[in-house]
Point group: C2
Amino acid sequence: MMAVQDSMDVLNGKWKIAILSSICYYNKRRFSDILNDVKGISNKMLSKELKELEINRLVRRTVLDTQPISVLYELTEHGLTLKTLITHLVEWGIQHRKEITKK
Amino acid sequence: MMAVQDSMDVLNGKWKIAILSSICYYNKRRFSDILNDVKGISNKMLSKELKELEINRLVRRTVLDTQPISVLYELTEHGLTLKTLITHLVEWGIQHRKEITKK
């Protein structure tokens, strides 16, 4: 029971899984791209969520010295262990939509 | 991306996964037992969450004509498709705790 709570503490919230999926799908992803991928999230909220994911050692942040500066996010080794879980969530989401929309 | 959001819409919130785990682990579970399993949840909140899970066709509610009346919850066929996902969440939670507590 406690372990489930642990997972959910990290992954909960409206956005975390969506953010991780975006980074996970593309391997490396710029801040502005994640902002595009995750429908409805604000700039400020995305910063906050990414910081929490960083604290939980799930994502790594790299600043590239480009013009303009771009910030790149990728999953850490530990973050990559979420890949199977995310795949499962996606598959289950599709299945659930089918179930709910059928009469 | 959308499918992930779908899953998370259903499973999100502080309690849903914990409630489902409790029912899933015991197959059938009384309201009062779930209340005990899920640390910190209030009576009112548990009712609300269970109702949402019912609407999403994940749990089935049965009222038993005992003295006093007891209310039993079990996963529907559709709810059972979450079993693998929950197992994954538990395993990942254990792994994550190890990762975070190591120096």
